[in-house]
Subunit: 176 residues, 2 copies
């Protein structure tokens, strides 16, 4: 039998920095498993969070290649961002990091939002290539791609949330 | 021979309340005729103005069925809005106006932006029908539809700008 996980807004806010997203995730619960959480998240992110909410969520991300801001509203969010960028940071050279900084600025100048990418397991050259390719898109097209990438990030973080919770549960049980 | 019209940011801001749009229109000039202005506007609005600029432009519109705000940044914009809504206002009854107010609120609640429609020549029942139909859309779909409607508004207002200017020119000539 599956146990029912009860998460709060803070947990979901660490998965996606839109307040509406976090609120709606709580309202959709209790969620009995990871797949149910992903289904709810997908519906909420694409159908209920409005464009202001998308912008809020995008703004919660550090620029790719940069450390999460100290001012991040969620420390779990900041730690996860860091972990997801670890491959990129390990494969970065001084010159590719410099190029990333320059393209981040150029991207921001054109689109007015951070470049958002599901970075897990991706090298810096790979990310740079994507950024240069996507730079040619129209702003609204990029906006939708960023939302798709955000959804991948949400899925990854929900899986972390559920496995963390499972670890905690089994630890609690073994304490008896 | 066509004369070259020189318009300033203020003129273009009255056509579309995005500062970037107005700036880029000036940079794309001088515009020798209406069609050239529409082509430039289309390119700027869809390819250069980012999502923040779209939101800025949408926020410049009064809610449909309501008078333009006294705080409007452009009096030409406010007057044109009023003119474009005249059919709607002339065909409105107390109850349909009340319904419009209710649906405006509902729409705002879901999408976080005003309901934007090319209102010229459209009756209140027609506008209400569109609002109810479009209410079912996903936020990103609505956002793109609103941008298309904004483009129609831009075209209409550019035509007003060019004919006003033509009137002024011929008046100036007849004054000789």
């Amino acid at each position: 039998m599956e146990s029912i996980r009860v998460f709060d807004e803070k947990d979901f806010f660490a998965c996606c920095g839109s307040s509406k997203f976090a609120q709606e995730m709580v309202l959709s619960g209790p969620l009995s498993n990871y797949q149910q959480a992903v289904d709810a998240a997908r519906d909420i992110w694409f159908n209920k969070v409005d464009v202001n909410g998308w912008l809020e969520a995008f703004a919660a991300h550090p620029k790719i290649g940069e450390s999460p801001s100290q001012k991040s509203k969620s420390s779990a969010f900041a730690n996860w961002s860091k972990g997801e960028q670890s491959t990129a940071l390990n494969t970065a050279t001084d010159s590719s990091l410099q190029e990333l900084v320059e393209w981040n600025a150029r991207y921001w100048q054109k689109f007015g939002v951070v470049f958002l990418i599901f970075a897990s397991g991706r090298s810096t050259p790979e990310i740079l290539g994507e950024m240069k390719r996507r730079y040619n898109n129209r702003p609204i097209v990029e906006f939708e791609i960023a939302a798709q990438e955000q959804m991948k990030i949400i899925e990854l973080r929900l899986s972390k949330l559920f496995s963390l919770e499972a670890d905690a549960t089994s630890k609690a049980k073994s304490d008896f």
